[in-house]
Every structure is written in structure tokens, then in C-alpha cells.
Symmetry: C6
């Protein structure tokens, strides 16, 4: 299955995967068909890069609502890619840097990638790399132009590169022409009722009798919100019950709904 | 009750609480159910941070009209949290600094927080930190991007962080995507008639016969305006009566209404 | 009455009042009930600052049309306040300075004020301090943010501060959120017919028979325009008559109306 | 009459009038009642400044269409004012300077003016001083704020100042609030038929029979365009006739109309 | 005729005409009445400058669609003017310079011109000098203000200056107020059928039988496009025929129409 | 035919063609009439430059949708031009440079080109050179003005230059006036069904029976997307089949349609 698939392939002569592992702190749990399909297609691109003759550059965009699991997916592909060079470019490590210094760092990663026969770069949260904000809208055109060029630039002879981008602002990326430069785009969705049930089942914090009601309430929710909710509910109405629940007790379904209403009020 | 609850828990190995105490100069008075409920839920998050395994970062936004008591609430949670590191980030201490220097100071606080096992950061008046003004609108995108990243960045292994933000411009925060990055948002409301009555009762500056009329007139008012009004009215129509009133005499209800009309004319 | 009231209270251990006196070069004349009421209420705030316990910071905005007497009023309150530190912050003394240097000067005044037990700061013509112009609109957000923070910042323990602002662009101040941070706002109006008559009577440059006609024509005029008009008319149609009029002769009412029509054509 | 009036008064202890004379290279010709009236009223202001007690600062704006004679008028008032200090501030002498350096130069002129008992400053073409352009619109807010403050700032004790501004963009000045700070505004109009006739008569380049037709065609034209037209027409259809016409011959009325149509086509 | 007229007058004591000649590489061909009329009127202005007393500055704008012959016309007037100083100011020689450095260069040319008794300056492609682009629109206000002032500034005593501007963006120039400062404006039009025929006749590359059809097809075309078209068509459908055609053979009318359709498709 | 045509002409004394060859990594395949026609017309311009007398500068714009083959076409013309100097100006080599440094590099290429008798410059992806982004829209006006001037500037005597531009944002170029400065513009279209069939036939990866269905599905697709699709489909549904297919096996038509639906979903 999906989870197994993810772990069947392990890096041969290993890129440092620490940064990548931090992107999936809760591990990888089977969360439905859609996620599985995208993972498989992305792994095909990994293979395509390896055998390619005509196209030394393959690019793929994972888009979807906030917290739907895009970064965890990209990191998993990176970990499982077996490439000598796998690097994540994220706004986290560039806080406070000037636009031009960010550009320089991004270019540096591409130049480094061009040194290995097979490389993969993750552009995580592209809207954040572009310093995007909806009001205006504002964003860094300098970084934007840099990415537009890098995503079209053919690597040197004999070098092959896979670029995977993630974004929760696909409309914005579309409007700056960034979607067009990706070879292919996949939509990473929120969880459906049955997907949520799979995850809850795995977590094992609800009575069997409550599982369906809980999953129903979580229909059309990003996986991240599901985890947040479960952890808040696990404290119990007056606090102090979390340890017990992680040790095997179950969450009170009424308290769970009370917390849920706090969260979805907005 | 709420006030008692606030004082049952006292800091164990004490973060400097001077700055926090300055945020609630008038102490904490019971001002109704809504405030109490939010305080309790916020204290659950404090606990969640302590027992958490999967989520080392918990974030919470307190939003509501100007003067509704958001900062006092956040400060109380900080004081009562028992955390080794509790810090308030406020525009007050950064007047005249450049955007990038403000960013650096904000990052510094987060880096410091990452050094304690359990930390809490209050982002007070986020719209002011962002130098927001409705005309334009204008704001600092540099600071905005910094916060967006910091509010998603996972602390280092073994460190746990609670971030509480306050704002009276939730619409603006929504439009820059800042609301989405908070795990949960609570609305700190104006006072209802019955809440105002509780506070007035506590202040004890009205004749019992006037109390209801006064509370009625204060329906749907932020707690801050209530205090302002009472203090202005206490001077009396020709001045000089404040000492007497603080010593036990009562405010002339007619003068109170006259002052009220000055204030609500706008 | 109003004028007497203004002079009953004189500074005890005197702030330098030179700058303040320059704000009311024509002295203070009784110009009607509205002005009187506002003056009295402002003097109550002076007293409130002196006896306050809970609110070490009191802020008040005087708004109204150009030339309605706001600055003269604020200066009078300052002169009559009996406070050790009274300072006017005005664009006049900061011509040509950069935004950040203006901010620094403004902060300096507040820091100085925090050193006295009782202080008063006049923020004169706030729209000018903010370099406001209606086209755009444009203004200094740096100064704007500085004022927004200073107007909320609690003075150090034991220090008390009254801030009085003036503006003829209350709509603009509203839209940058500057009105909300003032505790109370008063509207300083144009003169009504009967107010104008009081001032003209005091000036004594019209025949008694002409006084009513002149006052009627001046209905709904700011006090500043009234003075301008009278001085222009005093020159007479062919010049040379001003000395005589200041010595006791009267203004020709027809020439007065001719000058009036020059002025109100726009 | 108007022309005589202009020359009856000559400077007593003379400000350098070279710059001012360059503003009326074609001398001053009687061009109708409106111009005469404004000149007289402006001379009253000159007198008012001399006898004033209450108002040491008098300001006056001359506005009207391009080329209507505003600068020549202001220069004439300056020449005829008999003031020790008369200075014209014009964009001509500040080409290529930065905004802040322009501000400094403007302030310098005001500071210099404050040194004489009676001074006059001409702010010529205020829209050009403000670097105004209709697209946007754009203009220098720095210079704009500087003028707004200088036009309200009271000169030091015992010093008196008359400021005369000119502009052909009164709508723009209105919208930046610059009109309101002038005590009085006069509209310098285009020429009416009868005004044009007076000027043409003075120039004496048309046959008496053609004079009325020519004047009729020039109805509602700024005096500047009238001069341009006459000079172009004086060359004759094939060139070479100008000397003769300045020596007494007359302009061919048909050629005059042909040139006129070139000009008014736009 | 027009062409003869252009060559009857030759420079007496010669300004360097190299730059000017480069503006009319294809020589000057009779291209119809409109062009001829404008040339003649412009030469009258040259004369006016020489005999002028009252108006030492004469300014003229040539506007019209792209490629209509404006620059060639202005250059011809300059070459034929007989002035000691004739200079073309063009964006070509200022590529990559900053706005302020461009301003300095422009001012320098005016200062140099003021040194000769009779000078002429061509401001070529004013929209390009202003760095105009329709989107926004954007342009250099610094250069714009500089030109607005220079076009009104009276030269020093005894010096006389003719300024001829060209533009294909007269609407833009209008909107920045640049048209108003020119004394007179002429519209340099596209070619009419009969004008085109004159030029084709002169070029002699069509069979007499084809001339009318070709001219008809070229109705309402700028002279520049006419030359482009003829030169493209001269290559023949498969290339190689140009030499022959320049040596006397004729262009295949069908190929000519085929090329024409390529060009007017856009 | 087209392909043969492309290879009949080879450089005589060779410009470095490495950069140009990188623009057509997949070689040149016959992809229909439209492409062929444009190639031939462009080669006529090459010839025109060689024989030209009157027009030492010829400019041509290739516009069309993303991936339609514009750059490959321009590179082919450059390779086949037989010119001593052929240079491609592309954003790729200027990542991270400032606007003014980009301008300098562009100017340098033009200056270098002016040194050879016959030169060709390719301005590749003009919108990228201009740092264009649709939001705003934003772009570099500095570079824009530089190109507008360079595209009109006549080379020095005896030097001849062909400039070929490419763009997929012809609307934007139109709106900045960049289209007008090109002598002629050609539209490089997407593939029609029959064009796609030609390319697929050449690639030989489909069973003859599937060829029509595949071509039909590829109607109205840019050639670049066609290659991307074929390469993705060649991996097979579970990966691993690419080698075999490049060695002669055929692509499974169902898998091909599955991949196609991934791509056109957006
Ligand atoms: N398949 C999975 N199994 C278990 N946990 C998952 C899975 N996918 C995502 N998560 C967890 O859900 C949370 C959100 O995932 P992730 O950060 O990848 O989402 P995202 O779409 O990148 O969010 P954002 O839009 O905020 O960047 C993370 O804590 C991640 O570890
Ligand atoms: N529960 C309470 N008991 C007593 N006083 C309170 C309470 N809550 C708030 N106050 C007082 O009311 C005033 C306003 O509270 P606070 O500053 O917390 O409001 P706020 O919502 O943060 O306002 P702002 O929107 O201006 O930031 C303060 O003086 C505070 O001390
Ligand atoms: N009560 C008064 N008695 C006599 N003169 C007064 C009085 N009030 C104002 N004035 C005079 O009227 C003029 C305008 O007053 P002031 O400058 O205070 O008005 P303002 O509202 O501040 O105007 P602005 O909107 O331009 O700042 C001043 O010359 C002032 O001295
Ligand atoms: N009364 C007059 N007699 C003779 N010539 C005059 C008179 N008034 C103006 N002129 C001439 O008319 C021309 C235009 O006048 P002036 O420059 O004063 O107009 P303006 O309104 O300032 O124009 P602009 O709007 O361009 O600044 C000048 O040459 C000036 O000398
Ligand atoms: N009368 C003429 N006889 C021959 N050639 C001419 C004539 N007028 C213009 N040309 C030629 O036509 C071309 C376009 O002319 P020119 O550059 O003057 O036009 P323009 O209106 O300035 O164009 P643009 O709007 O592009 O600046 C030039 O090659 C020029 O030499
Ligand atoms: N005639 C052709 N034969 C074979 N391959 C071609 C042909 N034309 C284009 N290609 C290939 O198609 C792909 C896209 O072509 P190219 O880069 O020239 O398109 P473009 O229109 O410049 O795209 P963009 O709009 O992205 O700049 C390239 O890989 C190129 O090698
Ligand atoms: Mg993510
Ligand atoms: Mg607060
Ligand atoms: Mg004032
Ligand atoms: Mg003028
Ligand atoms: Mg031209
Ligand atoms: Mg391309």
C-alpha cells in the first residue's frame, strides 16, 4: 500500500535527510487514494529523470489547501528518490535576508544540484519564498523572476534535475505565470470522511463507537487540522487527561465536538 | 471563579513578570462568562504544550474590538503559565526602529524561546507590529513574512513553544493570511450589560439605585471605555470630587450621562 | 465667564509659555458657548491627571474646521494647566527634517515629559505632523505608527501625562485609526452669528448700526477668517485708513462687503 | 490708469529688481479692468503689511489660465511695493536640485525675509515648485508640506511678510489644501475682446479697419498667446516682413487668420 | 518645390551636421503637401528667431504617428537654419544614464545654446527622453519637470533660441502639460495615396502599370513603413533579386502584396 | 523541405553556435507549414541585411504561446545565417543582476555587434528580459527603454544588424510599445492535429493504429508539451518501460491518455 510503498525504496548513497525528516514529524500514515496516486506519479518522475535523454529537467508542482500534506509528500519523494543530491529550499532558513540574498542562495542550490548526475530540489511554500501577501498583492518580483528562469534553464550536459514545488496559493502562482513553467501540477486535497477515518483508526484515540461520528465531523478537513484537533481534545475539558489518552484511554466525544466548534467558528 | 482561577496558579521558577503586570494595571476583575471561558481554554493550551509529543508549537490568536481586554488576558495567561520563558513582543519597545531591525528583534525572542523546554511568546497588537494602517492599506511586508514563517517553524527537538497573539484588526490579519497560521482563534468581546454591572459593582462608585441604569448605558462597551468613563465622571461637573468618590462617595448619575454623551458623540 | 475662567488659573512653578503665547497672538476673546464648554471640559482633564490613580495617561483630541481656534484653545489649556512640563509639538520647528528624525524628536518630547510628575503635550495640527496630503492620500506611516504607539503607551510608575491633539482633518485621522486612541474628542466649531457678534463687539470697529449686518454676514465662519476680513477691510477702499480705524473710526460697511465677496468667491 | 498706477510708486531703498523685471519683458500695458482691479487690491495688501499689528503674515494667491499675466502682475507688485526685501522663488533657478535641497533653498528665502521689517516673497508657478504633473498625479510632498507650514508660520516679533503665489493649476492646489492657507485668492483671467483690443491698439500693427476683426478673433485668449500670434503673423506668409511691420507697416489680416488657425487647431 | 526648398538654404558658418544627416539617411524626397507646408512654417520660425525682439524663445512641436517623418523634418530644418549652434537631444546617446544625469546633459545643451546669438535645439522623441511607457503610465517626472521649466525659461539678454520637439505620443505629452508650453504644434501625417505615389515614383521599383495599385495599397501609411515594405519585397519570394531591382528591374506586385499582408496582419 | 532547408546552409566563418544549439536540444523536426513559412521569411531577412543599402537595421519579432518553438526557430536562423557575429541575449545568463547591469550587458552585445559587417542578435523571451509579471503589471522600465532605443538606433556606417526577438507575451509587448519598433512580427502557432502527427511519426513511439488517436488528442498543443507528454508516458504505468520504448517498443495508448488527463486537468 501507500505507506509501504513509501518505505520500500531507501536512499542508496544517501543525501542528508535530516531536513526532510523534519517535514514529516508525525511520520507517514495512509490517508487515502488521492495522496497515494500523487505519490506514485511523483515517483515515476523520479524514474523519468534517471532514464531521460531529451529532457534533463523535470518539474512538478504540488498545490492544495493549507495543511493538506504537500510538504510531507515532497519530502517523502525526496527521501525515497535515491538521488545523491536532495535539497529543500524553504523560507524558514532565510528569515530576514534581503531579496537579492535569497536569490543568491536559491541559485547556489541549483548550481550545487548541477554537480550531481541526478538531483532533486524542493521549493517549499513557493508563495512564502516569493514573500507573497494577498493585499496589493505584494511579492518579490526579483525572486519571482529568478524562479521563472531557473525552472526553464536546462542543466549542463549530463546532469539531470527534478524540481518539486509546493504551494497553497495556486491562484497567485498562476497569475505570475509560475504554474505554466512546471511540466505537471498535482492537487493535494483535504481529507474525505473515509480518509479521515483511516487516520483516526491509526491514531486509535476514539472508542470504536465514536469513530464514525468523529470521521464524519472531519470530512473535508486538511490532515494538519485533524492532528491539531485531536491533540487539543486529548487534554480533556479540565486538562490533565492527555497522558492517559496517549496511553490507551479514549477521547470524550462531546469534548471533542466542543473543541471542534472552537476551531471551525472561524 | 475566573478571578480566582487566574491566581491559583503562580509561576514556579519565575519569568520576569514586570512587563506582563504593566499590561493589567487595574488588576483582573471578573467581567463575565465569555472572558472566563477564553481564559480557561488558553490555560488548556498551556498544559498541552507541556505534555505534547507531536506538536511542539501551539499558537492561539485573541482578537476583538479595541480595549476589550485582549492584552490583559494574554498577560494573565503568561503570568499564570508557570513557564521558564515568557516574553511579550510589543511595538512600544521598538518605536523608531527600522523594519529589518524589528524583524531581527522578533527573531531573537524566538531564538531565546527555543532555549527553554517550555516557552511562551505574546505577540501584542499584531497590527501595530506590522505597522498597519487602513489607508492603502499599508503595512510592513517584511515583518509580516517574518511572522508568517515563525508561526509555522517547528522548534528544535525537545523544545516546546506557545505563541499567543492579540489584535483588534482581525479582518486585516485574515487578509494577509495571518489568521490561518494560528491553530485556534478566540474572540474577546465587548461587555454585555450584565458583564458591565459586575465590573461597576466591583468598583462601587454608584448608588445601588443608579447601578442598573449605568450598566444599561454601558451595554456593548469595551472594558477600557468603561474605566475611562468612570474616571472622567468621578471628577464631577466642576472638578474636585474625585478624591471623595474614591473614598466612598458616589458619582452623580446625571453628570455620568453627560460625560457619556461627550464620548459616544463620536 | 470663559475669558475670566481662562485667567483665573495661572502657572505655579511655570513651564516656558513663550511658544504657547505665540499660538494666541490676538489674545483670548469670548467667542461663544461652544468654545467655553470645551475649555471647561479640557480643564477637568487637567485635574483628572492630577488626582488619577488608575489612568496615568489621558488623551484628548480637538478637531474642527481650519482656523476655528483649536490651537489657541490647546495653548490656553497648557498655559492654565499649572503643570511643570508643557510642550507643543508642531511641524513648524521640524521643516525639512526626515521622517525618522521627526519621530526621534517626538519621542524625545515624550521621554522628557515622563520625567515630570504632571506633564502636558500638545500635538498641534496632527495632519501636518503626519505630512498628510489629500491626494493619494499620502502621509508618513512612520510618524503615524509612532504616534499610535505613544498615545497608548503607559507612562512610567508615578508619572502622569495629558496629551491634547488638534486637527482640521478628522476624517483622515479617523481613517488611520488615530481617533480611536484618544480617550475623548471635542469638536471646535465655526462661529455662529451670535458668536461673531461678540467678537466684533469686542473689536469695536463697526458702527452700532452696522454690527448686526456684519455679524449676520459672518455666520458660520471660522474665527481666523473673521480677523483676516476685518484687517483687510480696515485698509479702506483706497488704502490709508487703517490707523484711523484702530484709533477709533469705523469701517465702511460697503467696503467690508466688497472685501468679503473677494474672500468667499472661493 | 492701471499702467500709470503701476509706475507711480517706485522702490525707495530698492530690492534688486533685475529678476523681477525679467518677468515682464514686454513691459506693462493696460489690458483691462480685471487685471487693474487685482493689481489695486494686491497693493492694498502691501499697505496692510506695513500698518498691521495683529497679522504679521499676509498671503495672496494669483491663479488663472496659462499665460494670463500672473507672474508679470506679481512682479509688478513686488517692484512697486517699496519693500526692502523682495524675492522671487521660481523653479528656473532650481533645475536638477533634489527635493530636499529645493526645500532648503525655499526655507532660506523665508529666513532671509524674516530679517527685514517688511518683506515680500513671490512663489512663482507653485505647481512647478511642487514638481506637479497631472498623471498620477505626482508631485513633491516634501516641498508641498514645507510650503503648507511656511505659509502658516508667524514671522518673528516685529517682522512682517507678504507672500504672493501664482499658479495655473488651482484645482491641484485646492486638492493639496494649498488654497486654504492663502488669506485671499484672485483669478487673473484671459483677455476679453475689449481687453485684447486695448493691447492691439497699443501695439499698433493692424490697420484700423482690421483692428475689430482681429480683437474679435482674440476673445478669451491669454495675453501670452496674443503676443505669440502677433509676432508669428508679423513674419508674413513668405517671411521677411517683420522689420517693416515693427517699423510701421501693418500685418496682413488674412495671414494673421491663417496663423491663428495653426495655433488654435490644438 | 519642397525638396528644392530644403536645399536652397545651406548653413553659412556651419553647425556640425553629421548627427542631423544621420536622421535622414534616405535623403529627402517630396512626399506631399502636408509635409511641405509644415517645413515652410518651421522655416518661418527660424526667421522669426533671427529678427525677434520681444520673444527670444520660440518653441514648436512636431507630432504624428510613428515613422511619419518628424525627425527627418526637424533635422532638415536644423540643417537649413543657418544657425551657429544646432544640436539634437536624443535618447540614443543617453542609454543607461540615470534620470538626473540625463537632466544634467539636457541642461548643458541649453546652457551651450545660450552662448550663441541664434541657436536651435531638437528634442527628439520626447516620450523616449521622458522614459515613457503606456503601462501605468510610467515616465521620469524629473526629466519632465526639467523640460517644462527649460521650455519656458527666457534665454539671457541678446540670445535667441528655437526649440523643435518631436513625438509620436502627443496624448501623453498633453497629459503632462508639455503641449501647452510649446508656442505652436504641427501634425506630421501618414502618407495619403497620392503622397505614397510620389515617393514610389521617385524610387522607381514598380512597373508603371503596378504603380497605382501599389500606391493605393499604401494609403494611410507612415513613410517609414513604406520604405520597409519596398525593401522587403525587393528580395523577391525566394531571395536574391534585390541587386537586380536596385539596378533597374521591377518588383513582382504579387510578392509585394504577400509581404504587405505579413506586415499589416498586426 | 523545411528540415532540409534548415541544414542546407551552414556557417561560413562560424559564430560560436554552442549557445544556439542548446536552444534546440531535440534537433529540428518538420512540424508543419506554418513553422516552415516563418523560417523561410526569416531567412529572407538574413539576406536583406546582406544586400541592404538604405536599411542597415532589420528587426523581427517571433511571438506565440509558451513552448511553441520560437526560441528553437530563432536559434536555427542564427545558426543558418552565415553571419560572423550571432549572439543570444537571454535572462538565463543574467540571473540576479541589477536592472542597470542587465542594461549594460545588453548594450555591450549591441556594441560588439556593430563591429562586424553582418551581425545578428536574438533577444530571447523579451518579457523575461524585462522582468515582466502580469500582476500589477510589473516590469523593468529601465530595460524596456533601453530596448526601445536600441531597436531604433541605426548602426554605424557600413555595419548591418538583424535583431530577432521572441516572446509569449505579445499583449504585454504591445502595451509597452515594443511591437511597433519591430519591422515585422510573425506568429509561431501551436501544432495542429496534422502537425502533431508529423512529429509523432518522426518519434515513432506509437503503434500505427494508435497514431491517429494520439495526434487527434494533441491537436492545438505547443510542441514542447507534446515532447513532455511523450516522455512521461514512456515510463509506463508502473515505471521501468522507457528504455524499451526508446529501443523500439510502443507506448500503451491508455496510459498515454491517463498521463494526458493529468496534464490538461490544469
Ligand atoms: N501522510 C501523512 N501521514 C501522517 N502525517 C501527515 C501526512 N501528511 C501530512 N502529515 C502531517 O500533517 C501536517 C501537515 O502536513 P504538511 O506540512 O506536509 O502540509 P502542507 O500541505 O505542506 O501544509 P502548508 O500548506 O501549511 O505548508 C504535518 O504535521 C505532517 O507531518
Ligand atoms: N478582566 C479585567 N479586569 C480589570 N481590568 C481589565 C480586565 N481586562 C482588561 N482590563 C483593563 O482594561 C483596559 C483595557 O484592556 P487591554 O489593554 O487588555 O485591552 P485590549 O483589548 O488589549 O485593548 P487594545 O485593543 O487597545 O490593545 C486595561 O486598562 C486593562 O487593565
Ligand atoms: N478665543 C479667541 N479669542 C481671540 N482670538 C482667537 C481665539 N481663538 C482663536 N483666535 C485667533 O484666531 C486665529 C485662529 O486660531 P487658531 O490658530 O487657534 O485656529 P486653528 O483652529 O488652530 O486653525 P488651524 O486649523 O489653521 O490650525 C488665531 O490668530 C488665534 O489667535
Ligand atoms: N499687463 C501686461 N502688459 C504687457 N505684457 C504683459 C502684461 N501681462 C503679461 N504680459 C506678458 O505676457 C506674457 C505672459 O505673462 P506672464 O508670464 O506673467 O503670464 P503667466 O500667467 O505667469 O503665465 P504662466 O501661466 O505661463 O506662468 C509675458 O511675456 C508678459 O511679459
Ligand atoms: N521626406 C522624406 N524623404 C525621404 N525619406 C524620408 C522623408 N521623411 C522621412 N523619411 C525617412 O523615413 C524614415 C522615417 O522617418 P523619421 O525617422 O523622420 O520618422 P519619425 O516620424 O521621426 O519616426 P518615429 O516616430 O519612429 O521617430 C526615415 O528613414 C527617414 O529617413
Ligand atoms: N522544429 C522542432 N523540431 C524539434 N523540436 C523542436 C522544434 N521546435 C521546438 N522544438 C523543441 O520544443 C521545445 C520548445 O521549443 P522552444 O523552447 O523553442 O519553444 P518556445 O516557443 O521558445 O518556448 P517558450 O515560450 O517556453 O520560450 C524545445 O525543447 C525545442 O527543442
Ligand atoms: Mg507545506
Ligand atoms: Mg492590547
Ligand atoms: Mg491650529
Ligand atoms: Mg507665470
Ligand atoms: Mg523620430
Ligand atoms: Mg523560448
Amino acid at each position: 500500500d501507500f505507506v509501504n510503498a513509501l518505505h520500500e525504496i531507501t536512499p542508496a548513497f544517501g543525501a542528508s535527510t535530516d531536513d526532510l525528516e523534519r517535514c514529516r514529524l508525525r511520520g507517514i500514515v495512509d490517508c487515502g487514494k488521492a495522496h497515494k496516486h500523487i505519490y506514485q506519479r511523483a515517483m515515476l518522475l523520479v524514474e523519468q529523470v534517471k532514464v531521460s535523454k531529451g529532457s534533463p529537467l523535470v518539474t512538478c508542482l504540488l498545490e492544495g489547501p493549507a495543511g493538506s500534506g504537500k510538504t510531507a509528500m515532497a519530502a517523502s519523494v525526496g527521501i525515497d528518490s535515491d538521488f545523491a543530491y536532495v535539497k529543500i529550499i524553504s523560507a524558514e532558513t532565510m528569515i530576514g535576508f534581503s531579496e537579492s540574498s535569497k536569490c543568491a542562495q536559491i541559485c547556489k542550490v541549483f548550481e550545487d544540484a548541477y554537480k550531481s548526475q541526478f538531483s532533486m530540489i524542493i521549493l517549499d511554500d513557493i508563495e512564502r519564498l516569493l514573500e507573497y501577501v494577498a493585499i496589493g498583492p505584494r511579492f518579490s518580483n526579483l525572486i519571482s523572476q529568478t524562479l521563472l528562469v531557473l525552472l526553464k534553464r536546462v542543466p549542463p550536459k549530463g546532469k539531470n534535475l527534478l524540481v518539486v514545488g509546493t504551494t497553497s496559493e495556486v491562484g497567485f502562482l498562476e497569475s505570475v505565470g509560475m504554474c505554466d513553467v512546471f511540466s505537471v501540477t498535482y492537487h493535494v486535497p483535504k481529507l474525505k470522511k473515509e480518509d479521515a477515518k483511516k487516520v483516526l483508526h491509526h491514531l486509535d484515540v476514539f472508542d470504536d463507537g465514536d469513530l464514525d461520528a468523529a470521521a464524519e465531523a472531519l470530512d473535508d478537513m486538511p490532515i494538519k487540522k485533524l492532528y491539531t484537533l485531536v491533540e487539543m481534545a486529548a487534554q480533556g475539558p479540565t486538562g490533565g487527561s492527555a497522558e492517559a489518552i496517549y496511553a490507551g484511554e479514549k477521547i470524550d466525544i462531546n469534548h471533542f465536538f466542543s473543541i471542534l466548534s472552537d476551531i471551525i467558528r472561524y
